[in-house]
């Protein structure tokens, strides 16, 4: 493949800078979150996170090097491949904490449900791109996209990972609404999801119901599920305006916080850095997301626009669900905070999402493939 000079000239520096800034803050914070743990011979989380950042950066380069139009052309293939990974998981995955989300390939553990977020977007773009006629979608046009959502969502629901399934639905809705939908189809979508909601209650496992009830009333069972929410709120709130200081957060150092390396990592940060620190991080994330939308807006073609938009929305939902959860305005679901939570699969996928946005950004003046 010949590389156009304009591609390099227009290389998007802003996005990787923001991402690396967040990774840096994340590492500093992970050190604190793990400082009360006696790791012994085990590699500490913040060191392992470095490896993941390294791998993520490699995948980011892969994601912006290959022309996104090529990816969209093979959108269904990519989608099917990641769907197959989910199926493999379904058959022989590892069960941790009572659910089956991880797949071990030669000592390397991954979560295929993370990957499907990206490939579903690309497959949706492929579908929309193929059929685009300048008009909005009617009900019949929505059948295939709906199938693209339903298959992975059901598989993930079965793992069971309610949070990720819900994530896919949100991503799908935000995409379809953005791409354009007729009023009749829109109303149908709303009505059917409202009808499905009670049915979901029966699909949910006990612990998931528990979490939902807890979210509505955390004091109900402070020993069990409500404990996470209460402790997280205390941690965040006790940070106050300027925080307790680095490595001085008592909530985290005393191990009151659950999952403080992963899903609740931001509670540690909020406790130690206070309101000012939180706002700084939120502003960085907001810049990242608005920059992504800006790239989408300036994209050269329709597919580029949608790819950049979809990738940006992945960032937004990750961030909003995670922070909403630790602030007690959303139920506890296993969604990590981008670049700051410890974890390999989400790190790699989010780096790839950033890579896709860069991909669209740097090819905005290239007309021929």
């Amino acid at each position: 493949m010949k590389i156009d000079r304009r591609v390099l000239i227009n290389f998007d520096w802003i996005l990787p800078m923001l991402v690396l800034l967040l990774c840096g803050i994340g590492l500093v914070n992970l050190y604190s979150a793990g400082s009360n743990i006696d790791y012994g011979n085990v590699t500490p989380h913040y060191v392992r996170q470095l490896y993941w950042i390294g791998l993520g950066l490699v995948m980011m380069v892969v994601a912006f090097s290959i022309d996104y139009r090529l990816m969209v052309r093979y959108g269904y293939v990519l989608y099917t491949l990641s769907l197959m990974l989910l199926l493999v998981l379904f058959v022989c995955g590892e069960v941790t904490h009572g659910s089956q989300r991880w797949l071990t390939l030669g000592g390397f553990t991954m979560q295929p449900s993370e990957l499907i977020k990206l490939t579903m977007i690309i497959a949706l773009v492929k579908y929309v791109d193929d059929r685009y006629e300048g008009t909005s979608f009617g009900l019949s046009d929505l059948f295939t996209p709906f199938l693209l959502l339903l298959v992975p969502a059901l598989l993930i629901l079965k793992q069971p990972d309610l949070g990720t399934a819900f994530f896919l639905v949100l991503l799908f809705l935000s995409f379809v609404l953005f791409a354009g939908i007729r009023m009749k189809a829109f109303l149908f979508l709303c009505a059917s999801s409202l009808a499905l909601l009670p049915g979901l209650w029966f699909v949910m496992k006990d612990y998931q119901k528990e979490r939902l009830v807890m979210f509505l009333n955390p004091e109900h069972d402070p020993l069990g599920a409500g404990y996470h929410i209460i402790q997280s709120i205390i941690a965040v709130g006790s940070g106050g305006l300027i925080g307790k200081g680095y490595l001085k957060g008592t909530q985290s150092q005393l191990k009151f916080l659950p999952e403080q390396q992963t899903d609740f990592v931001f509670s540690v940060f909020a406790e130690e850095w206070g309101f000012i620190g939180v706002i700084v991080v939120l502003v960085i994330f907001l810049s990242l997301i608005l920059w992504g939308l800006n790239v989408a807006r300036r994209a050269r073609d329709y597919s580029g626009l949608l790819v950049a938009y979809g990738a940006t929305m992945i960032f937004f939902f990750f961030l909003f669900i995670n922070i909403g959860m630790i602030l007690g305005i959303l139920p506890v679901v296993g969604i990590p905070l981008p670049f700051m939570s410890y974890g390999g699969s989400s790190m790699v996928v989010l780096m790839m999402a950033a890579g896709l946005i860069m991909n669209v950004s740097m090819r905005r003046f290239v007309l021929q493939p």
């Binding site: 020993l223 006790s238 009151f256 807006r297 073609d301 602030l327």
Partner: protein, 633 residues
Amino acid sequence: MPNHDKLNRQDPSFFKTRFVIVGCLIFFAFCLLGGRVWYLQVLRGDELRTRSENNRIRVEEIKPLRGLILDRYGATLVDNHPSFDIAVIPQETENVGRAVELLHEFSRDFCPPATLADGTALRRGYTPVTLERDVSWEKVALVETYSTMLPGVIIDVVPVRNYTMGDATAHALGYVGEISRNELQSPAYRDYRRGAIVGKSGIERTMDRYLRGKSGGAQVEVNVAGRTLDVLAKVDAVPGLNVVTTLDKGLQQACWEAFDSPAGSVVVMDPNDGSILAMVSKPSYDPNLFNRGISEADWERFSSDPRAPFKNRALSAHYPPASLIKPLIAAAALDQGLITGEETIMCLGSLSVGDRTFRCWGRKGHGALNLYQAIVRSCDVYFYTLGLQMGIDVIAEYAYRFGLGKVTGVEIAGERPGLVPSTQWKRQRFGEPWHRGETVSVSIGQGFLSATPLQLVRFYAAMTNGGVLYQPRLVERVESPGGDIVESFPAIEQGRLPVSREHLEQVKRALWGAVNEPRGTGKALLRKERDVCGKTGTAQVISMPDDDDDGEKQKDIPYRFRDHALFVCSVPCDDPLITVMVVVEHGGHGGSAAAPIARKIVDWYMENRVMRAPESIMTGSYDDTSTRRSHED
């Protein structure tokens, strides 16, 4: 990309409204998050900070008490007792070194662990650091008395396992320890947590799922130092279930005391259902040492001991069955119709096969012997002859059906299968044909043939109970702490010996003769009731040179080359209640080293379990106060 040029060009104005809407929504979402953070951190900041500093609520795991292990009559084999640790919370003391000094002033024999010296244990800490484990009551009282002078020093109470019989039951019951990394990763321990205490061997391991119970939790209010102020809510732990074993505590103790040699094992089985009444393996170790993590010195001492004290010799050690195999050969020959009880074979002191000469242990020869006399006097030549007539593959088939050469399926781990050689086995193992001379060795239980004491006791139990092969069992049932039966483990019949009742009866009569006839080899068991039937065995560890004099004293041979002494017997002969198997490693002759041990065990059993009803024993000789139930049979 079919419609790339025409349709997919973006019309910038087309999406403009949508971008504005999405941008606004996202901005609004961020405002929502920011507002919530403002509310929590700024508006409620002081309140929540107070809550985090003064009113810390933490969920603590309440560990369940592990279930008891009881003997068949309900006497306690394992229970739990509290152990007191002195610990210090580094964050609460000004200076840990000072606290240690003070402790030393109060109690001269207080010795802080070495890890304190380099300070690594005290990096940051609200977590208590243990200074001394399992301290005496006096020290506990001392620390409590001076508690005001010792800020941050606390007494931790930890329940630990108490093995009431110590070394005597180490191998059957096993010991407990913290779950290892390998165990955590294995699917069998899927629902276990890091730091859990699990059974590592014996019944503790096999029955862990029943014994472990279920953790509870408490929501506790703790102060800045992490010390508990108040318990706000609590879900009690569910204690583990009690395991009732088939063991007989009194008999186990009798076996332990009777076995006075450095290495070997004793297994006592009830031939009527395969229950193991006693299982002793020597050398042994004290499982109580593992309670709080075994000390490095102890571990080193045990694991480097060449006699392997951790090995359960009753089921993990292979021995040549030696003469103990002879009744099997006899029964097989009867069943094959190769011989009748009356036919005689002439023993002249040796038998030549090819260019080799196989000697009988009786150098001068036993003369003409029938089956009864051959077993009584344990004549080798008689069995050489029968073995050669049958051939190795027929012997192997019978040995296999008698339960040799495969694991018995007893509940506890570590069992080895023994070895029953055959022509096919030798071809696969060595790629060589079988030699007739090797059949001769196997006919008297030497050569490639090997078995565990557990296999041998089961084989004799079946020979003397009319031919039923039971799976050996150590667990009778599982009970709730209140004594309700949760699960029963009935006897399992694994098969029947392929020999008719009359033939078995014939062999059994000869086994009676081996003990009660004047020229029998097992005369040590000749009781005035004349109610024991049994067989001696002397297993060669190395083959002695041909010109070696059989009369050579065992004590002149280096210990590790001395013969193993074996003895097995059932009592009472007519309708056996127990089958006793004794192996004395490097003990010399079965009749002189192993049989006297079996004699003591048999005497104890007949005296305490048959002459006197078990009920009276329960109140009489048992010094155990936790005895809860009378004999159930």
